[in-house]
């Protein structure tokens, strides 16, 4: 009876069996990690906008405070996108004729909305409320990052559920004094944990992790 297989197949076949196990495990790990990549979460992906509005310039440069435009951030679920009127408050005086601002003037003239591309876009079944956070010492930059350094705004964090849970489970790691909430350049102190624990007590912070907190 002639041999069917070459000697080398012995090692090959043995390797293949145990190899299979590792491939399976690797595949699982990979699928998980893919979901964390910014390709999926679109984090750190600057979106181009109809009007080249630069937060870096307005916030970083001119020091405009968040709430000047995002008026309802502490009142309602949505931070609020400023109406054209708000832009024109200043730009009727300065850069009044600048071509880059034509869309804005056009908007006011023709009474049609400016079209912005959504940057922080949660799924429709997730209900996030800004006021509930900023009123309890969660700073803008905690989630949105250094807006003052973003010419075009990008999404700083993954916005994955695990990311939300992380803070809801350990708020003390992230809280800051209320007066610092809008301080975009805020740096947490060395004793953040101590501070955080104290703030949790003082602000009566009770983050919920039950489902209907965000899903309804």
């Amino acid at each position: 009876m002639p041999q069917i297989f070459h000697r080398s197949t012995n090692t090959l076949s043995k390797a293949s069996i145990f190899g299979a196990l590792f491939v399976a495990a690797g595949g699982l790990w990979l699928t998980l990690e893919i979901n964390r990549t910014s390709w999926v979460t679109r984090a750190h992906e600057a979106r181009t906008q109809a009007v080249p509005f630069s937060h870096a310039h307005h916030v970083g440069g001119l020091g405009v405070e968040c709430r000047y435009c995002h008026t309802s951030v502490d009142k309602g679920a949505y931070a609020g996108i400023p109406p054209t009127k708000t832009c024109m408050n200043c730009h009727s005086q300065i850069w009044g004729q600048s071509p880059t601002l034509e869309p804005v003037r056009a908007s006011l003239r023709t009474d049609t909305s400016l079209e912005w591309t959504k940057v922080h876009d949660l799924p429709d079944f997730v209900y996030f409320n800004h006021s509930a956070h900023v009123n309890k010492g969660v700073g803008c930059s905690t989630c949105h990052g250094r807006i003052d350094r973003m010419p075009f705004v990008w999404q700083e964090n993954s916005l994955l559920m695990e990311w939300c849970l992380e803070c809801h489970r350990n708020p003390e790691k992230y809280l800051r004094p209320k007066e610092e909430v809008y301080n975009i350049a805020y740096e947490p102190p060395a004793d953040q944990l101590a501070l955080g624990k104290d703030l949790v007590r003082r602000y009566d912070v009770r983050p919920r992790v039950t489902c209907s907190t965000c899903h309804r």
Binding site: S113, T117, N129, D204, R206
Partner: protein, 1008 residues
């Protein structure tokens, strides 16, 4: 905007945009974008043209689109790594002061029903009205709503609403219409408007009335006719009979210890029903401390919700009720003839009871009874000394009050005689709803020029030369009076979606003021009404409050004069079956036929959806050998030919316990042919049998068998079909009830009825709930089964309409249902209503069996349902003893119609295919309130959170609150001895509990 701007094909993007910057100034962003961009939108536009309407009426095309959509969703789900497509944000150009994005605003206005106003608060999200609540400051609404009030939201966004000016069915512009009208009027000027006729429904709008007067002054010979299909002719005539003038009677149930209803269905109909239900129910909230309540006697010829809550109900043919009324009158010593002796065992103790209660008693007669009965009721009340106590009278609220039937008859006569050159129909669907004997259709054809203003291109529009789209009550400025005369200013919540105009703006055209906006017309009128006063202040207040103060009519003294009507006995009813007409409990006189929410609403008592039927009593059914069989695809029943006065319709048989024998009830309002995609060809048209001389009942009907069977969609199996269910319901003490006597004697008796195991009887220690723990108590003694909670829930929670086929298969989606149980003999049973929603069990059977934790408990004791986690095994539903869970077997939500996107509550996820859903205790409302409270660093106040069902309930039967707070109303109610948990023996520990029903029968009365 002025009429010229309104484009011929109005729903183009620019048009919508422009209109949205209109009067209300509020504009919504995202949806608008979608509205314009969605490819479905253009095809939607095309479909709206009538020539293609037919293709669309077959739902296939749309279904395919939906399923394609869901299939693509499926693929999206397949891989976890899907990126979201980029979405747009459209901010305001000028943001309104008061608006905070994501925070709804509420505006006070009113919706009219049969002409009478009910004050409402409309919830508006970035300019989109999404929900209607009652206005607590309104004397008739008192914060409650009925099914119709809720359904107006869907009516507003209905894509089938008329959208263009039409001439002979061809699209025309407003200018073209104006020209035509101008010419026609010019002709009429010459003849003083001899050939000019107006036809409206019941009008209570002071402004409209004033406009009509001016027009009639311009054209002295013109005439204004009224026709309200479910109007109040008998009531009016009754008053004239008794007092010699048409006065309105106003009842004070809060003052009445005893109420005798002569077929008066105050729960189901009537301009003041919301208020009356509230007052009635308040007198029935007994507790063991003071076991006292009012007593209600009902005599009726067709089972009604009022009869269902009665302590004593006498079910006899409508024609026999007058005899009873006369007997009662005689018994009370009034010189009245013709009293029957048939029901003396019932009448005698009743009379005794009436005497003993005296001025704290009250007799009310139903519209369906002839004038004489109304007159008798007035006479009896006067005799009892009830006037000023439980009843008072005012001048009629209706403008130009006259007998509608007669009015229409005259009009038709004149049309036939060719005396009418120009007929103007405002809203009334006369061609459909007119009595059959008038044969209005061909009479109409004799009128040279017919103009119709209406929300829909309905049967009447079809027979008119010109059809003009009317603005929806939520789109236009107007005013209207409530039952007590109180005026509400109607303000628009959104600019007309489909380019309609209001009746005011339309009538302006007859005074050469076509360009005047409704807003200005209204202000002009009221400037005249408030001389001296600071107009702007008055105006603002009226708008803010939703009522114009002290506009309720003053009561006036009137005296009954007993005429021949009292002394001459009524002629005996004819032989054969008696045919009884009633407006449909959901689609009313047919005007709501295209409203899916209402079509799918299980009718009270019958629990039928998407159909009307020839309803007969069990005895009659047995005699004639009819039976109904429940199948997996609906309730199979026989179709009969219903013959009546040489006319006939084919109708399915339905058997209803407590229906008088030898009598058939049919509901008006179905069998429409031009209602729209939803309402066309649903049920049969009962108007085809209705004659002007006998609007509500008549004898001589016959049921002719056809041997043909059909299937009806009924949401609750029927014990006249299935005695088993009846027996079991009793054995299981699903509804716990007792008489007041028994309860007073032994308050604890309800607990003996079923075991209530001790929480400790568990292998695991009971879970502790800190902070707020939400719970609900439902008072079965207050619930009148009106279904308001069901529609309110549908509107609040974006619950889809699934259609007759799916309902027949047991796949309706309602989160709350009103179960109906009977006790006693099928001929005269006691009826109980039990609203059933998610019980939010602390030991929830559904949660344990869910493999993916898609339903779990929140720390506040809510049974959360997470749609986006659900994979749809349906195990939770199987394991739910209350069967309150609903499953999306298909993609039920209409994802294609843009206006529906605007309609939905943005705070509630729109569920997709393949997921389970159920009552959430309106968690979106809880969250909103909690966040506000926590932001302000205060606890949530008692009563601060109202669930949608609770808020709508006119009877205040539903109470929601924090069971951890001993001071809360709900906690107090749960402490009552009447409180019991449904199926508590299963140790589910429901957070929703019930207060047992207590009836207050007259001990001297034979049962029934």
């Amino acid at each position: 905007m002025s009429a010229e701007e309104i484009p011929a094909v109005p729903v183009d993007f620019a048009g919508v945009r422009r209109r949205l910057d209109g009067t209300t100034g509020r504009r919504y962003w995202k949806s608008l974008e979608e509205l314009a961009d969605s490819p479905g939108f253009l095809e939607f536009l095309h479909r709206e043209f009538p020539e293609q309407a037919a293709t669309f009426e077959d739902p296939k095309g749309r279904r395919e689109f939906l399923t394609l959509m869901s299939a693509s969703l499926a693929l999206a789900g397949l891989t976890a790594c899907t990126r979201q497509p980029a979405e747009k944000i459209l901010p305001y150009v000028k943001q309104p002061e008061e608006l905070v994005p994501g925070r709804p605003l509420f505006f006070a206005t009113a919706v009219a029903h049969d002409g009478y106003a009910r004050g409402v608060l409309v919830e508006s999200h970035e300019g989109r009205p999404t929900k209607i609540e009652g206005n607590p400051d309104h004397p008739v609404s008192l914060g409650a709503t009925d099914v119709f009030g809720q359904a107006h939201v869907l009516g507003l966004y209905d894509p089938d609403r008329s959208q263009t000016v039409k001439f002979y069915g061809e699209v025309r512009t407003w200018i073209q219409f104006r020209t035509a009208l101008r010419e026609a009027l010019a002709k009429q000027k010459g003849t003083q408007g001899a050939g000019l006729r107006f036809l409206t429904g019941t009008v209570t709008s002071p402004t409209l009335a004033a406009q009509m007067q001016t027009i009639l002054a311009e054209f002295p010979s013109a005439k204004w006719h009224h026709y309200e299909p479910a109007g109040r002719d008998n009531t009016r005539a009754g008053a004239v009979l008794a007092f010699g003038e048409p006065v309105d009677a106003h009842y004070r149930f809060d003052q009445a210890d005893l109420i005798l209803s002569l077929e008066a269905d105050f729960v189901g109909s009537g301009p003041a029903s919301l208020r009356l239900i509230r007052e009635f129910a308040r007198r029935r909230k007994v507790d063991d401390a003071k076991p006292v309540m009012n007593r209600l006697y009902v005599v009726e010829g067709s089972p009604s919700l009022t009869g269902a809550v009665a302590d004593h109900r006498l079910a006899i043919r409508s024609s026999e009720i007058e005899g009873v009324a006369r007997a009662v009158a005689t018994g009370l010593g009034l010189p009245v003839e013709g009293g029957t002796i048939a029901h003396v065992d019932w009448v005698a103790p009743l009379v005794k009871d009436l005497r003993s209660k005296g001025p704290r008693a009250l007799v009310i007669a139903g519209e369906s009874q002839p004038p004489a009965v109304h007159a008798l009721a007035h006479a009896i009340n006067e005799k009892l000394g009830a006037v000023g106590q439980t009843v008072s009278y005012t001048a009629p609220v209706e403008a130009g009050a006259e007998d509608h039937a007669a009015s229409l008859k005259t009009l038709v006569g004149e049309m036939r005689a060719g005396q009418v050159d120009l007929l103007v129909v405002l809203g009334v669907n006369a061609a459909y709803a007119a009595p059959a004997d008038l044969a209005i259709a061909e009479a109409l054809d004799k009128v040279p020029l017919r103009i119709h203003l209406g929300l829909y291109e309905d049967e009447t529009a079809e027979r008119c030369h010109w059809h003009l789209p009317e603005a929806h009550p939520l789109e236009a400025w107007s005013d209207a009076r409530a039952a007590d005369g109180t005026v509400t200013l109607l303000q628009p919540l959104i600019a007309p979606l489909y380019g309609g105009i209001s009746a005011h703006e339309f009538l302006g055209g007859f005074l050469g003021r076509a360009d005047t906006k409704g807003y200005d017309i209204l202000r002009e009128h009221w400037k005249g009404q408030w001389p001296g006063a600071d107009f702007e202040k008055e105006w603002k207040r009226a708008l803010h409050d939703g009522v114009v103060k002290d506009t309720a009519l003053p009561s006036k003294a009137v005296a009954v004069t007993l005429g021949d009507w009292a002394t001459t006995a009524p002629k005996p009813a004819g032989s054969g079956l008696e045919l009884v007409f009633r407006p449909d409990p959901a689609v009313h006189d047919g005007r709501f036929a295209n409203n899916g929410w209402l079509q799918e609403l299980p009718r009270p008592l019958t629990k039928l959806t998407w159909d009307n039927a020839a309803i007969i009593g069990p005895g009659t059914a047995q005699k004639l050998g009819f039976s109904i069989e429940m199948t997996a695809t609906g309730h199979a029943t026989e179709v009969v030919e219903l013959r009546y006065r040489n006319r006939a319709v084919r109708a399915p048989i339905w058997v209803l316990p407590g229906h008088p024998e030898d009598s058939v009830t049919v509901h008006l309002g179905q069998g429409r042919t031009r209602a729209g995609r939803v309402g066309n060809r649903v049920g049969f048209d009962a108007y085809a049998l209705r004659t002007s001389d006998a609007p509500w009942f008549g004898s001589g009907a016959e049921l002719v068998r056809t041997g043909e069977t059909t299937k009806l969609a009924c949401t609750q199996d029927h014990w006249s079909i299935d005695q088993t269910a009846h027996k079991e319901a009793g054995r299981r003490h699903v509804v716990r009830a007792a008489t007041l006597e028994e309860y007073a004697k032994e308050p604890g008796l309800f607990h003996e009825m079923g075991e209530d195991p001790d929480p400790g009887l568990s292998m695991f220690p009971p879970h502790k709930y800190e902070g707020n723990a939400w719970g609900m108590a439902i008072d079965l003694n207050s619930c009148v089964g009106c279904n308001a909670c069901v529609t309110a829930c549908v509107s609040e929670n974006n619950i889809p309409v699934v259609g007759k086929d799916q309902v027949s298969r047991g796949r309706e989606m309602h989160w709350i249902r009103v179960d109906r149980y009977y006790q006693g003999a099928p001929e005269s049973p006691d009826t109980y209503h039990q609203p059933v929603l998610c019980m939010h069990c602390e030991n929830a059977p559904c949660e344990v069996v869910c493999p993916v934790t898609a339903t779990v408990h929140s720390e506040e004791g809510l049974n959360d349902m997470i749609y986006n986690r659900c994979v749809g095994t349906r195990y939770c539903s199987n394991n739910c003893p209350y069967k309150v869970r609903r499953f999306n077997f298909f993609l039920y939500q209409d994802w294609t119609t843009p206006t529906f996107k605007m309609m939905r509550n943005p705070d509630v996820t729109v569920r997709s295919r393949g997921v389970m859903e159920k009552c959430t205790y309106c968690v979106q409302r809880i969250s909103r309130t909690r966040i506000d409270a926590r932001n302000e660093g205060r606890p949530i106040r008692e009563g601060e959170i109202q669930t949608a069902c609770q808020q709508a309930c006119p009877a205040e039967a539903i109470v929601f609150g924090d069971v951890n707070d001993p001071e809360s109303r709900v906690a107090k109610l749960k402490a009552s001895p009447r409180n019991y948990g449904l199926l508590a023996e299963l140790q589910t520990r429901p957070r929703t509990t019930y207060l047992a029903a207590v009836r207050n029968p007259n001990p001297e009365m034979p049962h029934g």
